[in-house]
């Protein structure tokens, strides 16, 4: 094992030789990120997380907050959903069945697998409950089993929607339920051939009439051919009643998490952008999703920056590409987004939390944390603030990788960690005065719009 590790290190060192810049990364947060020139050496930069156990370590949170693991030994937890009674549903699974097309895929697949958990995906929903409100989730039970790499979760009234990697399904749900009544009912099939990017993000519109499903591209940058990209790299709007869908937005390379903004009802997404154009290209982003909008992939990025790797080119599509709202930085791998609430505390009351899984193709790793993007007047205002860090040490030892984030009615942030297979909960030490009536296990007071927003992932 040790020898294997050494071998991998040497292989990496050899592979990486002389292709890293080592300069300080450019300022890449916000609406106008610096976009350096494209570059690609003979070998892509790869620095893979070295998994390590948490032991006595804990992630770092801001002063005035406490973090605690509320569930461990899960099977690849990705996204979470806080139910109206405070119960937490966790989607566990690992999807994708993209075959290796080139020798490169075989080698890269082997190397990348070293930075992830060896545990088999659960293909299930686990329910966590803190019945007495003391912050310890004493109940951990399987809510539903036999799913196919479930990821996106949303609750609309008494219907629980789950986005598997190949279909949108639903369960009937009544508050307090700990086990699904029966097998899920299919709402609609989702594009699943190859499934290079298999995660299907999910959010319900404020009125519950529509479901938005994020469908990632089937390649980094069309290297599996354009025919593999039919119905990919887009966000579907699915009619909850009929299961009919239309493309709500296109050119969105990998929309890994969706959220409805409380109050406005606007759809927001975090999107992972393309690789192999250099360590500081292309920024992953947070954006409102415009109905009918085209966001560039594959022909261009960040508006009109043409990607020369795509043939045939399409100047008309490039011209129509929308510039996203807010850059989160290149290769951070944003996989979770959740709107905050006043209950979280004054400094973090208005904005979104973003879970960043962390880079694998950058010599100076980035991400591996949860950040808070402050909002003002309904739009991002200011640089991201670190909210949960310490997942990856300076020594390269990586203890966790954040994925989905949710905010619970008590003002706590729930973070799924798919490396250590843990659910973390970050709580304010002094409950915010603004939400005094929020009794632990009963949040019936939330308006429909707010609860749908809460239900985003």
């Amino acid at each position: 094992m040790k020898r294997l590790h050494l071998l991998a290190t040497i292989t990496l060192a050899v592979l990486l030789g002389g292709c890293s810049g080592g300069n300080a990364p450019p300022e890449q947060y916000g609406a106008n990120p610096q976009l350096p020139a494209q570059q690609r050496g003979l070998l892509p930069d790869m620095v893979i997380a070295k998994p390590a156990a948490w032991g006595d370590h804990l992630p770092t949170v801001p002063q005035g907050y406490t973090i605690k693991a509320i569930a461990t030994d899960l099977r690849i937890p990705r996204q979470t959903l806080v139910l109206p009674n405070g119960d937490i549903l966790v989607a566990e699974g690992r999807g994708g069945n993209a075959p290796s097309l080139k020798p490169k895929d075989v080698i890269a697949g082997y190397i990348k697998a070293k930075g992830t958990s060896p545990v088999k995906g659960g293909n299930r929903l686990t329910l966590l409950r803190d019945a007495d409100g003391d912050g310890t989730y004493e109940m951990k039970t399987v809510f539903a089993d036999g799913l196919n790499a479930p990821y996106g979760l949303a609750l609309v009234g008494d219907t629980l929607y789950v986005a598997d990697q190949d279909a949108l399904v639903k369960f009937h749900y009544t508050v307090g339920q700990t086990h699904a009544d029966g097998a899920p009912v299919k709402v609609t099939d989702l594009p699943s051939a190859i499934n290079h990017h298999w995660t299907k993000a999910l959010a319900a519109s404020a009125d519950g009439r529509y479901l938005y499903v994020g469908i990632g591209s089937n390649s980094n940058i069309t290297e599996r051919g354009m025919t593999a990209e039919v119905d990919r790299a887009r966000i579907w709007q699915v009619d909850a009643q009929t299961g009919m869908h239309r493309a709500y937005a296109t050119g969105v390379r990998n929309p890994t998490a969706l959220a409805i903004q409380p109050g406005t009802g606007a759809l927001w997404a975090v999107v992972n952008e393309r690789d192999e154009l250099g360590p500081d290209l292309v920024p992953d982003y947070l954006t409102t999703v415009r109905d009918g909008g085209f966001y560039g992939w594959p022909w261009s990025y960040w508006g009109q920056h043409v990607d020369p790797r795509v043939r045939p080119q399409d100047p008309e599509k490039v011209a129509s590409a929308i510039v996203p709202d807010y850059s989160l930085g290149s290769h951070v791998a944003a996989l979770g987004v959740a709107f905050s609430s006043p209950a979280v505390g004054a400094k973090f009351a208005d904005g979104v939390f973003v879970g960043e899984h962390g880079s694998w193709n950058r010599s100076d790793p980035v991400g591996y944390k949860v950040v808070f993007v402050p909002f003002r007047d309904g739009h991002p205002a200011g640089d991201p603030i670190d909210f949960v860090t310490g997942f990856r040490g300076k020594d390269g030892l990586t203890r966790g990788r954040p994925v989905g984030v949710s905010v619970d009615p008590r003002g706590a942030l729930i973070v799924a960690d798919d490396l250590s297979n843990t659910i973390w909960r970050v709580t304010p030490n002094t409950p915010s005065a603004a939400v005094k009536p929020a009794a632990p296990a009963t949040t019936t007071g939330a308006a429909p719009a707010a609860s749908a927003g809460e239900a985003k992932m």
Binding site: L42, P44, L101, P103, E223, G225, E276, P308, R309, R311
Partner: protein, 140 residues
């Protein structure tokens, strides 16, 4: 007299010959696939190229080993040295070509195509020398 001895000593070993011809065929296949991708944008050709190059490198590496053995067998005569160096150059450029082919989609072009041409030309020259170089050397 010495010419006759030289001729006997450097008849290409059949194993070396088949490895050399195999490498050339694989590199040539990669070049043809590259041309097809260049003309059609059909991505599958680039996958074919990648694997053909990988095959050419494996077979070519064994051909190079044979050439090294040949060097010792012929006590470092000129043509076997040239032959071995040509094979080495073919392999190194073929390896760089394989790395270029690991790029995504059109990022392979046009560097990959140019390298594939050079690799095939080098492999052809190596093969030419392997089969005729000895005679050329003998004539002088």
């Amino acid at each position: 007299m010495s010419v006759a001895v030289d001729r006997v000593r450097w008849a290409l070993h059949p194993l070396n010959a088949v490895l050399l011809a195999g490498a050339l065929a694989l590199f040539l296949g990669a070049l043809l696939s590259d041309i097809a991708y260049f003309r059609s944008y059909a991505i599958q050709w680039s996958n074919f190229s990648s694997w053909l190059l990988a095959g050419g490198l494996v077979v070519g590496a064994f051909a190079f080993l044979c050439a090294i053995v040949e060097l010792f067998r012929t006590r470092w005569r000129a043509w076997p040295v040239v032959y071995a160096l040509l094979l080495l150059a073919t392999w190194v450029l073929g390896f760089i070509d394989a790395l270029v082919h690991a790029r995504d989609a059109w990022a392979i072009m046009s560097t990959g195509l140019v390298l594939s041409v050079i690799v095939v030309v080098l492999a052809c020259v190596a093969l030419w020398i392997a089969f005729t170089g000895m005679r050329a050397g003998g004539a002088s």
